[in-house]
Amino acid sequence: MHSTSTPRKLGWLQIVLLAIPCIAVLIVPWFNRLEPSLFGIPFFYWWQLVWVPLSGVFIGIVYKMVVAKGSGD
């Protein structure tokens, strides 16, 4: 069953897409500030929170690129 699932190898584009959310939450000096705040939540906090669902979106895009439809479990 597992033999049916041979996904394409991760290329440069996929690696960059996976790296973007990681970099976004690791450039600490850039987001270490209070303004602009959102619903009263300082920038430092909402910036990192927003990247949580966004990281899922980026991973989802890479999933669509590397896993062909019907390639099994």
């Binding site: 069953m1 041979t6 190898k9 996976l18 939450v25 690791l26 209070l34 430092f44 980026f58």
Partner: protein, 512 residues
């Protein structure tokens, strides 16, 4: 004692205990095989894997410790968020390859893989022992979550009577793990996560409304608490520490034995990939939980006369339970506390199974009884899982809590030292086992030494480099050193022509 909350709490606890026992029959396989008991037959689909891995990584200790850290230390406590953002893109790239090769050769642990790949039971032993040592205090810490909520229900917390609820909870855990293996935490994880989501969402919606919105809450926090101190005078300070702690912890998380166990139990590599698209939902929850630390700070609940004694006993760890007690009716307190206690049982079960798999495969079978049958192998794993939990219980009952916390901190540093061997093996066979072993030993030795400089209180080390002072996570510095030593040693070994190139796996086993 809070009668309503305690009744709800005990009712939910009994329910999951029954569920734990019943799950032995769920998609039943031949339980005399280790991959059935210890990996649930590698049959968990995307949904169950989502609950299992989520329930495994976001532990009860997280619910207590993360808000406690934010409550006490401010912005630094939020490192848990970038940590869990970074981890999924990395595992997405790396771990499906491990799954495929592990399935083909029936590897149950990461050490099995290392033993086969590098033809080195010695390197596998080093990695297995590191994993077991790092996991033990982690199991012990799960008990802390249970202890805090049992205290919060108003039960006595000292003497034999005080320890009885903890002993009962752990006995239940031990017995259902013994009979049902990984299927037990997998089924309980579903209930646990529903309770956790309900509790946290209710807290994060209702409490800020009662307090006049997040604007009010954040306005009540001192500014130096809300941000990290900026880089100045050639010292990168908390900025570099925050970054490296998040990144290093993410690297370590991947190769904790309980994480590997949950990953290898999935039905296939695409199941895992799908799973990681949706696992960040838990991280979002974690971010909300972290913010509860500020909510507790702004509400000043630690100064209320009815809660002050708890804060005196449990310190900042009572931030999250205190919010529940102050803002919610008793029955909901029971639900929330049950979420924390059950949230402790799921990872504790998986951790003890993971440690048992390591001991059985990479110590018992590799060194003590190489000719043991599959039945003997499985019964040894079941026995060892009991022993591990008993050890964790003794740890909490008889040693000061600070030991468990310090050892868990050290555990992350130790686990990171297994990374070069496992990750390099997933991609290349360039390294020789001897070089990796030398790197492991160097990283381990330096890491323990650096942690000892802080009296095992903190996980940071300030590196002085070219006029700069760069405080960073010890584990990350140690693993860099580990890798550098391994590369140099490997160049020497290759030059001398004494490398061992035997490999039980082949190129075609590595896909994705």
């Amino acid at each position: 004692m809070n009668v309503v909350a305690s009744t709800v709490f005990i009712g939910l606890f009994v329910f999951i205990a029954i569920l734990g026992f019943a799950s032995a029959h769920w998609r039943k396989g031949d339980m005399s095989h280790l991959h059935e008991w210890g990996l649930g037959g590698r049959r968990f689909g995307a949904w169950i894997s989502w609950f299992l891995i989520g329930g495994d990584l976001y532990t009860a200790y997280t619910f207590i410790a993360v808000p406690a850290l934010v409550f006490g230390a401010g912005a630094l406590g939020f490192f848990a968020l970038p940590y869990t953002v970074v981890v999924y893109p990395m595992v997405f790239a790396i771990l499906p390859r491990l799954w495929v090769v592990a399935r083909k050769h029936n590897y149950v642990t990461a050490s099995d893989f290392v033993a086969g790949r590098f033809n080195s039971p010695g390197l596998a032993l080093a990695i297995a022992v590191t994993g077991i040592v790092a996991t033990m205090p982690y199991i012990a810490l799960q008990l802390v979550g249970i202890q805090v909520v049992i205290g919060g229900l108003g039960f006595p917390t000292h003497g034999f009577i005080g320890e009885l609820p903890l002993i009962i909870a752990f006995t239940v855990l031990a017995v259902f793990t013994y009979t049902s293996g990984l299927r037990a935490p997998a089924s309980i994880a579903v209930v646990k996560d529903l309770l956790v989501y309900i509790t946290i969402i209710a807290m994060i919606v209702i409490i800020p409304i009662k307090m006049g919105g997040f604007g009010h809450i954040f306005a009540a926090i001192p500014k130096d608490h809300l941000l990290l101190p900026p880089i100045k005078d050639g010292n990168t300070g908390m900025i570099s520490f925050y970054t490296t702690l998040a990144f290093g912890s993410a690297l370590a998380l991947m190769f904790y034995p309980h994480a590997t166990t949950a990953v290898l139990a999935a039905k296939g590599p695409n199941t895992l990939r799908r799973n990681w698209v949706f696992l960040p939902a838990y991280s979002f929850l974690l971010g909300l939980i972290a913010m509860l630390g500020y909510v507790a700070y702004a509400s000043g609940i630690d100064k209320l006369p009815e809660l002050a004694p708890y804060f005196a006993e449990y310190k900042a760890q009572f931030a999250m339970p205190g919010l529940l007690l102050h803002f919610f009716p008793s029955w909901f307190v029971g639900v929330g506390f049950a979420a924390v206690a059950i949230g402790a049982l799921v990872p504790a079960a998986i951790m003890s199974i993971a440690a048992a798999n390591l001991f059985t495969r990479n110590i018992y079978k590799a060194y003590i009884r190489p000719d043991c049958t599959v039945q003997q192998e499985t019964s040894m794993a079941k026995m060892f899982s009991l022993l591990v939990k008993f050890g964790a219980l003794m740890f909490i009952l008889f040693l000061p809590l600070t030991y468990a916390i310090q050892l868990q901190l050290l555990g992350g540093i130790l686990i990171l030292q297994t990374l070069p061997a496992i990750v390099s093996g997933i991609y290349t066979r360039w390294f020789d086992a001897k070089a990796l072993l030398l790197g492991w030993a160097t990283g381990l030795g330096w890491g323990i030494w650096a942690a000892s400089l802080t009296g095992f209180q903190k996980s940071g080390y300030a590196l002085h480099l070219g006029g700069w002072v760069i405080p960073a996570y010890i584990g990350l510095y140690a693993v860099i050193l580990n890798l550098v030593v391994a590369v140099i040693a490997n160049l020497v070994i290759r030059k001398l022509g004494v490398a061992n190139d035997n490999d039980a796996t082949e190129l075609a086993d590595y896909v994705g």
